[in-house]
């Protein structure tokens, strides 16, 4: 997909406490939809899905005192475009001690776009165990799905053009909390 140029105009969609509120809301929705988040595991998709998963777990703990195990799920080796790109370095896959068998797995990612990352994550999950169900939480849904995939929890829907790109920054990795829309015809 064509990336906008580095000097393309950009617009901040979410920043700082707005982003925190969005995460809080997803945490509440998870508690609501899963009746208290028991038997649930959060798996972040590297890179930015992982800190998001940890934040959600921390918020869920703060709201209801439930400890939700958190892990990470690297999808690099399961990508369908692996061979079309230069070799990628691997991220980390780390399952919580209790594994995922028979549990509800909530995949956490920053941006939902084509849906191909999620498909890769579902394939990776299949090799790791058999969850009772799988749900998807994303900070941003920007549309343009290429596969029949939808999220169960969405922080913010951002209508975008294909020529635009959405960039999520998180304090843990980038030093600031911010969602930016870059490029497009303005």
């Amino acid at each position: 997909m064509a990336q906008p140029r580095a000097d393309a105009p950009s617009k901040i969609i979410l920043a700082g406490s707005d982003l925190h509120r969005v995460v809080d809301r997803i945490a509440h929705q998870i508690l609501e939809k899963t009746s208290g988040a028991t038997g649930t595991v959060l798996l972040g998709i590297p890179t930015r899905g992982v800190p998001l998963a940890h934040r959600l777990a921390a918020r869920i703990h703060a709201f209801e005192g439930v400890d939700v195990p958190v892990g990470s799920l690297d999808i690099t080796l399961y990508r369908d475009d692996l061979r079309l790109q230069a070799t990628r370095a691997l991220g980390r896959t780390e399952l919580p001690a209790g594994g995922i068998d028979g549990l509800r797995v909530i995949l956490v990612d920053d941006v939902l776009f084509s849906g191909r990352s999620v498909r890769a994550a579902l394939d990776a999950l299949k090799d790791l165990g058999r969850p009772s169900s799988v749900q998807l939480a994303v900070l941003v849904d920007r549309g343009h799905r290429q596969l029949p995939i939808r999220a169960d929890y969405v922080g913010k829907n951002i209508p975008t053009a294909l020529s635009e790109s959405v960039k999520v920054a998180l304090t843990e990795i980038d030093g600031a909390d911010e969602v930016k829309l870059i490029g497009g015809l303005t």
């Binding site: 080796l77 070799t87 990628r88 370095a89 896959t93 394939d123 790791l128």
Partner: protein, 306 residues
């Protein structure tokens, strides 16, 4: 990323570290129920072994299979090589079959370099003559890093037949690239100074094992190849063992944290005493397990991308 792995000298520090980091992620696979990743689905890896080998061939085969590649094993025995086919003709046959990677072990130093000119796929050196064995060096470096936490500044003694050892050569090249401090130890007949100097300027040489041990983090024992014993490089097996074999009293001279390595196959009682080989300091079994992870990393990085 590089296309071939023919020599440890092909690797700069960043690439070598990438391979070790990737291997660490691959290692997590061995604890899983489904020990398989789809990364190399539909790719063909040929194991071309002109010399006998168990551990290296099996290790490469396991690595390729865990990445879902198709594996073709070819050994010189029972093939058209015994009818006199040349390496080049064999290479052209493999090329016609569409091999994406050829893992080659050959008794002639430099065979992988020649092969790389004849095939389009990646060539991985699995040991060529007395030249190099880069994946062994990578798995040794991986083992050191996972046991001791670092490679930079690590003091490594490589002991034995350096002259004929491809393991030693690759290790010197890789370890110095990664910042370790290597000392070659052995009888003068088996460590020609020009060889040591040609490998790396910073490599030290010693003929006295006992003086090197107290200041070593890692001691790597090389196999004494039985065929060398007839060649009078040292007076007798017994004398070699006395001076350069690692037994319990010698092992006690090592610092508390130091580890003992051996690329295998071992001559127990010759270069390494059985009690040393089986002690908790020995990483010999670990090295074999790490071999699969490191070879997975190499195959993935060579073949995984565009």
């Amino acid at each position: 990323m590089i296309k071939h792995l023919r020599s440890a000298a092909d690797l700069d520090a960043a690439t070598a570290t990438l391979i070790l980091d990737t291997a660490a992620e691959m290692a997590a696979l061995s604890g899983r129920e489904v020990k398989k990743l789809p990364a190399l689905r539909g790719r063909t890896v040929v194991n071309l072994f002109y010399e006998d080998s168990t551990r290296t061939r099996i290790s490469f085969e396991a690595a390729a299979k865990r990445l879902s590649a198709d594996v073709i094993n070819f050994s010189a025995k029972g093939s058209s090589v015994s009818k006199g086919e040349s390496l080049k003709d064999t290479a052209l046959t493999l090329q016609a079959m569409g091999a994406d990677a050829v893992v080659i072990r050959h008794s002639a130093s430099g065979a992988p370099h020649r092969l790389a000119n004849w095939v389009d796929g990646s060539v991985v050196n699995a040991g060529d003559g007395t030249h190099e064995h880069p994946t062994q060096a990578l798995l040794d470096a991986y083992t050191m890093r996972s046991r001791l936490g670092r490679l930079d500044g690590l003091k490594v003694a490589i002991v034995g037949d350096v002259l004929h050892s491809r393991v030693a050569r690759s290790n010197v090249l890789l370890l110095t690239t990664l910042g370790a401090d290597v000392t070659l130890v052995g009888p003068p007949t088996l460590i020609p100074l020009d060889v040591a100097a040609a490998l790396s300027k910073s490599t030290k040489v010693s003929y006295d094992l006992d003086s090197v041990l107290p200041d070593s983090d890692v001691v790597m024992m090389l196999r004494v190849q039985t065929e060398r014993m007839q060649d009078s490089y040292f007076p007798s097996a017994r004398e070699y063992s006395r001076r350069y074999g690692l037994d319990m009293p010698r092992m006690r001279k090592l610092p508390e944290h130091a580890v003992v390595m051996h690329p295998g196959p071992m001559n127990r009682g010759m270069e390494i005493a059985p009690e040393v080989a089986d002690s908790p300091r020995s990483t010999i079994v670990e090295q074999v397990a790490n071999g699969v992870s490191v070879r997975m990393a190499v195959l993935y990085l060579l073949l995984g991308g565009k």
